[in-house]
């Protein structure tokens, strides 16, 4: 659009004349530089500088280690497999949800089962896997009586990550499949195609960009996943994030960790660029325009419906079984050994674990408003104001979100360990990590909302005599409030559940529930781990319900809708 280019050049002088606005922009730049660019620069410096010289020696040293090379290939293999299996599963799930004429009740069950993993700590499934298939596993040991089953390795990691991350593919593909006008399929039928042919020649090709996108998202998620491999992969199947973690916490080798996380950065960057510049370009063109007249969906043969639905219910059943198991494990003495009922694990959680709960809530509570505010401020500026470096600002604000958590965590650890800014051991470093890593959801929601708000609405306010401050306060702000809630909701949820970055940042002073869960797992005190997990899921659930309530209230008043607080 020509108009955007024109406002950009003629507008920024006006923007810069406004002192409040210029100050806000400068402050945001300072934060972005300090909490995104500076840590990354330090990480790269650690990797490539030695005694003021550029060197590849550090990289070479790490890559000489066969174990590390193995970890690199393992990471790629695992990510590719998770990408494939998760995309297939997500597609089947989405196809069933959209095309099988399900009743509301079925759809709700499928949606609920796919949402649970998204709002839980990332290793919840892994813990349930241990409960089921571990040395004393409920299924392998108790039910089937298998003694020698090894729960550690590629197979279980793959299974667990697929189950955890396929909902991303489901959420990506469902709207795409739903947007394919059934009339297009009808058209193909009317030309004499068989069902299978319609699926192969119409439905599937239209979904290809979505499939590619889902694959890349899952690939990135698996590549970045730290907790699942830490619990399930075992020694025989090292991957990069766990190697980097062990390098730092086991060998106290910060430089080695930095180099390993740089190795992780390369494939992550490739995937990111592919996703941003290749797939998303192709995304919208395939979707046909407005949905035509309602037509009964015929693209799914009646005989295929039952098996598809059965498969989806099986997956949903496994997920629900895992969560039920987690709850059960939290209220019995020792799962697999002694199933007597007890409150003991919760007592542990609320005595020894109280500090972690307390710390986590403070950190999440502090990050929430900061992240929400940062999200709408930055979103508003990049969407509405013309100033030099606007696009760069938007891209930089997304960096920490796109990088694997391990990299961000190690970068923060390196950057804020020494002067000029020593933050290690404080709550601030954890809060900053969460705010700058998880606010992009709020930023995107703000930008999306503002793009739907016609500029003439603000002009209308101005024409009625309102200054820019009044207009922002009384018109713009209420309209982007849903994005604010969405943004702070995501920051809160992630602060409760994330671990890959912050495991490097916790200290004696400030610790997190997720870190305690992981410690419990390695100490084999599985009961408290389960109790902690149940607690987190409960808190997150309550917060999500509260936020959806707020969102609904503000939407009812005529504001624009934010489709999903977890999408993107």
């Amino acid at each position: 659009m020509t108009s955007i280019a024109a406002t950009a050049t003629s507008g920024w002088r006006r923007t810069l004349r406004d002192p409040g606005l210029s100050a806000t922009i400068l402050i945001l730049w300072a934060f972005l530089a300090l909490f995104i660019l500076f840590p990354l620069a330090k990480l790269l410096a650690r990797t490539f500088f030695e005694d003021g010289q550029i060197t590849l020696a550090n990289l070479a040293a790490i890559l000489r280690d066969a174990n590390h090379r193995q970890a690199f290939w393992n990471s790629l293999l695992l990510a590719a497999l998770v990408g494939i299996s998760g995309t297939v599963l997500g597609f089947l799930y989405a196809f069933t949800a959209v095309r099988a004429n399900l009743s509301r009740a079925w759809t709700t069950i499928l949606d609920a089962a796919s949402l649970l993993p998204l709002i839980s700590p990332p290793f919840t499934t892994a813990i349930a896997m241990i409960f089921s298939f571990g040395p004393r596993g409920l299924i392998t040991y108790r039910l089937l009586g298998i003694k020698g089953f090894t729960v550690y390795g590629l197979h279980t990691t793959l299974f667990s990550e697929t189950l955890t991350y396929f909902p991303i593919a489901y959420l990506t593909l469902k709207p795409i499949l739903a947007a394919i006008d059934p009339n297009v399929e009808d058209m193909a039928f009317s030309l004499g195609s068989s069902r299978w042919r319609v699926f192969r020649t119409v439905t599937l090709p239209l979904a290809v960009p979505g499939l590619a996108n889902a694959f890349l998202l899952l690939f990135a998620a698996s590549l970045a996943d730290f907790a699942t491999p830490l619990i399930l992969a075992g020694n025989s199947f090292p991957v990069l994030p766990t190697q980097a973690y062990l390098q730092i916490t086991g060998l106290f080798d910060l430089k080695g960790g930095a180099v390993l996380s740089f190795v992780l950065l390369v494939p992550a960057l490739v995937v990111y660029l592919l996703q941003r510049y290749w797939v998303s370009r192709r995304y919208y063109v395939t979707i046909t325009g407005k949905a035509g007249a309602q037509t009964a969906i015929k693209s799914l043969a009646p005989w295929a419906r039952a098996p598809l639905l059965g498969l989806c219910l099986l997956v949903a059943g496994v997920t629900l079984y895992f969560y039920a198991l987690l709850f059960y494990a939290s209220i019995v003495v020792a799962l697999g050994a002694n199933h007597a009922w007890t409150w003991h694990h919760y007592q542990v959680v609320f005595t020894e674990g109280l500090k972690a709960i307390h710390d986590t809530l403070i950190i999440a509570g502090a990050g929430m408003p900061l992240g929400g505010l940062y999200g709408i401020l930055l979103g508003y500026l990049v969407a509405k104001k013309a100033f030099p470096g606007r696009q760069t600002m938007e891209i930089i604000s997304m960096v920490n979100y796109s990088l694997p958590g391990t990299i961000v965590g190690i970068a923060y650890l390196i950057a804020f360990n020494d002067p000029p800014l020593v933050l290690t051991g404080t709550a601030l470093i954890i809060v900053a990590c969460y705010v700058f890593r998880y606010s992009p959801t709020g930023i995107r929601a703000t930008v999306a909302l503002l793009q739907q708000i016609d500029p003439s609405i603000e002009e209308a306010s101005q024409g009625l005599g309102a200054g820019s401050g009044t207009t922002f306060r009384r018109i713009t702000l209420p309209l982007v409030l849903p994005a604010f809630f969405a943004g702070l909701g995501v920051v809160f949820i992630r602060s409760m559940t994330a671990i890959s970055a912050t495991i490097f940042l916790v200290s004696i002073n400030w610790t997190l529930i997720t870190v305690r869960i992981l410690e419990n797992m390695t100490e084999l005190s599985l009961g408290p781990a389960a109790a902690f997990s149940v607690l987190v899921v409960l808190i997150v659930f309550v917060v999500i319900v509260a936020i959806s309530g707020l969102l609904r209230r503000f939407r009812a008043a005529g504001a624009v809708e934010v489709t999903s607080i977890l999408g993107g």
Partner: protein, 364 residues
């Protein structure tokens, strides 16, 4: 408050265009709108109407020229300092505010007491026929109702001037006709100065006191609807206002009594055209479809032609008539009485002087 006029004096506005570089959206436009007058800016899409209107409103700053409202030079004033009422094409209602709060917004900005706000809003809502809609939200209203809210919101602050940017283009045809009459009525009753932008010549002719026709960023002619129809100053205006046949003729002789032309190989006498034409010059002629009379072929006078097609519309019949190389549009009123010519029939065309307008020079 007595109505204030508007004076636009030599205003220009450039925009940076990705491909073409700097382009003029508005070039040296001057206008005067009398107090309580409704002036329409009429022209095809992209000719600079909206940009002109937005500069009057203060949403855009002109690169050159000055703008006066009343006696006051408001160039450089922001929109919120000009006391204007603006009705947007898409209405631009505040989606999160009720109808009442939408209309009350401008009063609240001016910090009017609550009782006064309630009174003024109630009065204006009654004026636009929206009593009882106070608590509705914009997304619960039909297009016509949204349009009324937008209008109420603009007039409740008692603006010095009312500015409309294609306010009716989102309504269906019937409602458009109805609303334009209402707008006109309201503007007259409040006797408020108004500038109205549209690309629809019929709407412009129906609603305006005067029309300024714009083309490529400039005003090419100003006048009443009748002026523009009867005496278009250029081919562009002729073709934009009403339906037109354009013919080429050569001047055979010119004297105070009239002009003698050769058109399609025939002589044509124009009485009263004392224009400054020179003998031998080629001129363009504007002939309205209803300015041509048809007679059965074989009549002694007129220019011969042949009916190509015919559309019978009851009170009139529209013909396409071949005359030489040209195909002319001819409208014949009361065809039932005057006879209908079938396609293929030979006819004679008559061009009464009062139906012809001479265009001088090579105007575009």
């Amino acid at each position: 408050m007595s109505a204030a006029g508007i004076r636009v004096d030599g205003v220009s506005k450039r925009f940076a265009h990705r491909v073409k570089g700097e382009v003029y959206a508005v070039r040296d436009v001057s206008l005067t709108v009398q107090p309580a007058e409704l002036l329409t800016l009429l022209g095809p899409s992209g000719c600079g109407k909206t940009t002109t209107l937005r500069m009057i409103a203060g949403f855009e700053q002109p690169d050159a020229g000055r703008i006066f409202i009343g006696e006051q030079d408001v160039t450089g004033f922001m929109a919120n300092q000009r006391n204007i009422g603006f009705v947007f094409q898409n209405y631009a209602l505040f989606p999160h505010l009720s109808v009442f709060e939408n209309v009350a917004y401008g009063l609240r900005v001016k910090r009017q007491p609550e009782a006064e706000v309630a009174r003024a809003v109630g009065e204006v809502l009654a004026l636009v026929g929206l009593q009882g809609y106070d608590r509705q939200f914009p997304n619960q209203l039909s297009g016509g109702e949204q349009q009324r809210v937008a209008l109420a919101r603009a007039i409740v602050i008692r603006p010095r001037v009312l500015l409309f940017d294609e306010p009716l283009s989102n309504l269906d045809a019937k409602l458009r006709v109805h609303m334009r009459d209402e707008l006109r009525d309201l503007q007259k009753r409040l006797s408020i100065t108004a500038v109205y932008v549209t690309h629809d010549q019929e709407e412009a002719m129906a609603i305006s006191d005067r029309i300024a026709v714009m083309h490529q960023g400039a005003i090419v002619q100003e006048g009443t609807a009748e002026d523009l129809y009867r005496r278009p100053a250029s081919e562009f205006v002729a073709q934009f206002i009403g339906r037109t046949n354009l013919l080429t003729g050569r001047v055979l002789s010119a004297d105070p009594g009239g002009v003698e032309l050769e058109v399609a190989g025939q002589r044509l006498h124009l009485a009263g055209e004392t224009a400054r034409v020179t003998v031998g010059e080629t001129v363009r002629l504007v002939v309205r479809p209803e300015g041509i009379e048809l007679a059965p072929g074989g009549s002694a006078t007129g220019i011969p032609g042949m009916i190509v097609s015919r559309t019978f519309l009851g009170e009139k019949a529209e013909y396409q008539v071949r005359m030489g190389k040209d195909v002319l549009q001819v409208t014949s009123y009361n065809p039932v009485q005057r006879g209908i010519f079938p396609p293929g029939q030979a006819v004679m065309l008559h061009f009464p002087s009062h139906g012809i307008q001479l265009l001088l020079g090579s105007t575009a």
